[in-house]
């Protein structure tokens, strides 16, 4: 039996030691008629056969390896330096448990502390937690956190230009509570918060890729006593002023773009950071520095009184397992890229996206609406975007997300993403094909 070392002989002898004759005797607490049901599953296969089967399945997907890739919309094709998977896949990281026993978990704990530190710097906040499931659940928990500050303030202001899946996840998380969600258009200073507003949420950038300056929106939110929550692209924060510096109280992000593959949508990385004032209200695990009796520096899970294993029904959140290894990869990525690398990647995305946008905008029938953007921009197309997608995919160019996927009232809009992975030649080819398909 694979992975089950004890042989039949071992079992016999162990049974004897505990005074039993058969294995079945160990299950007598189970009602007889429910014991040992038939499992309608095939017999086990060897590792060799399993890998062959699963590799064949994996080959049935279109992938960014086999096409020029301009599709983002929440999952991004960025370069992952070789050392990231090489280090993260070490058994001592991969197969370690949650660091509840700090003396034997200093590797994991120090890595989390370093991740928290780098993310805090990137976002311009004082404290970052050890991860959430993904960007959407992080944002949902941030909104709940803001609302719980004062239950009477139950209005949540969301940008209209929010990723549809984020909106859905938020709706699920808020569905148990008496809160009112209102949407605003454009920049966060258009939000119009009042005395009943718990928080104003802003994208940095928005779903359509549009960048807004945040300081004014933050000011207006604070003036009415509301919190200002920003959902940011982590790479954008390397290039432009951080959300924290512009007044954000809570910053959330999807960290997949930091050293993690797209993996058909998961596992991803929910990032969350906040001001010092909100530290004890944050969900999720947090690592802090500590000393042992010899004065040696170490790291430990701290502020645990917020968490479910202590607070139970009064916990800030029910989260237990988070996205540990994904966070580790983001940590190694940020460490390897560092100051210079993060700026360079961000610059490459910015310049390549702007090059693509300027060339597409020059095509008859195509319009680019964004006035400021990072790596994604929204294109108005002369023919339905879904048709463009189909035709170009056949030529191994995946041009972006047709918005009609989420909203049938927007058939001629395409969300195009350009990263450091796209060469000028690929971009020129995209432009060529876009022109062709509109003829």
């Amino acid at each position: 039996m694979p992975f089950i070392p004890n042989s039949n002989e071992d079992r016999e002898s162990m049974l004897k030691e505990i005074g039993k004759n058969t294995i079945e005797e160990l299950f007598l607490d189970i009602p007889e008629k429910l014991r040992f049901p038939v499992l309608n599953l095939p017999e086990g296969i060897s590792e060799m056969e399993m890998l062959s089967e699963i590799e064949a399945l994996s080959a049935k997907n279109i992938s960014a390896r086999k096409a020029a890739w301009f599709l983002g919309a929440g999952a991004y094709n960025h370069y992952i330096p070789s050392l990231v998977p090489a280090l993260a896949s070490r058994g001592e990281f991969l197969t370690a448990y949650t660091p509840y026993q700090p003396e034997v978990s200093q590797g994991t704990l120090q890595a989390i502390f370093e991740y928290q530190s780098m993310a805090a710097e990137l976002f311009g906040v004082s404290v970052v937690n050890a991860s959430h499931y993904d960007g959407a659940t992080a944002l949902a928990e941030a909104v709940l956190m803001a609302w719980k500050q004062n239950l009477e303030r139950n209005k949540i202001l969301l940008p209209k230009d929010l990723h549809p899946e984020y909106r859905e996840v938020l709706a699920t998380y808020l569905s148990s509570f008496e809160v009112e969600v209102q949407e605003y258009e454009g920049a966060p200073e258009n939000a119009a918060p009042d005395a009943r507003t718990a928080c104003v949420v802003a994208g940095y950038p928005d779903f359509s890729g549009q960048i807004h300056s945040l300081a004014k929106g933050a000011e207006l939110a604070h003036a009415s006593g509301a919190l200002f929550i920003v959902h940011a692209d982590p790479l954008l924060c390397a290039l432009l002023e951080s959300p924290g510096a512009q007044g954000a109280d809570i910053v959330t992000a999807e960290g997949q773009c930091l050293g993690n593959p797209m993996n058909f949508g998961g596992p991803f990385l929910g990032m969350m950071g906040a001001t010092e004032k909100l530290m004890r209200k944050m969900p999720g695990r947090i690592v802090g520095e500590a000393r042992d009796h010899d004065g040696k520096r170490g790291f430990v899970l701290t502020l645990t009184a917020r968490e479910q294993h202590i607070r139970r029904e009064k916990a800030v959140s029910n989260i237990c397992s988070n996205q540990g290894l994904v966070m580790l990869q983001a940590c190694i990525y940020m460490a390897a890229m560092g100051h210079h690398g993060m700026k360079t990647v961000a610059r490459l995305c910015y310049d390549k996206a702007h090059y693509a946008a300027s060339r597409i905008a020059g095509l008859p029938g195509y319009k680019v609406g964004n006035t400021a953007f990072f790596k994604e921009f929204l294109v108005e197309t002369p023919v339905p975007a879904e048709r463009i997608f189909e035709k170009l995919a056949k030529k191994s160019v995946v041009p972006g997300l047709p918005l009609s996927r989420y909203d049938s009232s927007r058939p001629k809009e395409l969300l195009v993403c350009v990263t450091e992975m796209n060469t000028k030649a690929e971009i020129d080819r995209l432009v060529e094909l876009l022109e062709e398909v509109s003829a």
């Binding site: 645990t304 009184a305 202590i310 009064k314």
Partner: protein
Amino acid sequence: MSIDANARYAESHEYARIDGAAVVCGISDHAQAELGDIVFIELPAVGKSLKKGENFGTVESVKAASDLYMPISGTIAEVNDALHADPALVNREPYGAGWLIKITPADLSEMDKLMDAKTYGKTIGEE
């Protein structure tokens, strides 16, 4: 376990003791011992009005967290600011320097509904 003879006690282990026009409130020695080393205390804003039994804050240790409940109704007149820098005061001197809040009582007769020191002693002896 020491019990302040001048105070009266709630079932949830808060104590209340008359101090001039105000009522001083904290947690009993038994409660602080159960919690262990206290790391953080969340206290209400001065001026807030709360009823008897309402939650007025939280006290946290490394392994536990407890909600704090008003032993009597009233307005928060003062909170113990010294606890920000030194939450361990509650462990060391729960009845003295480790007090939590001072209440301007709404109805002093509510004190009669609390347990006296002897009765409280019996309940924690039994626990």
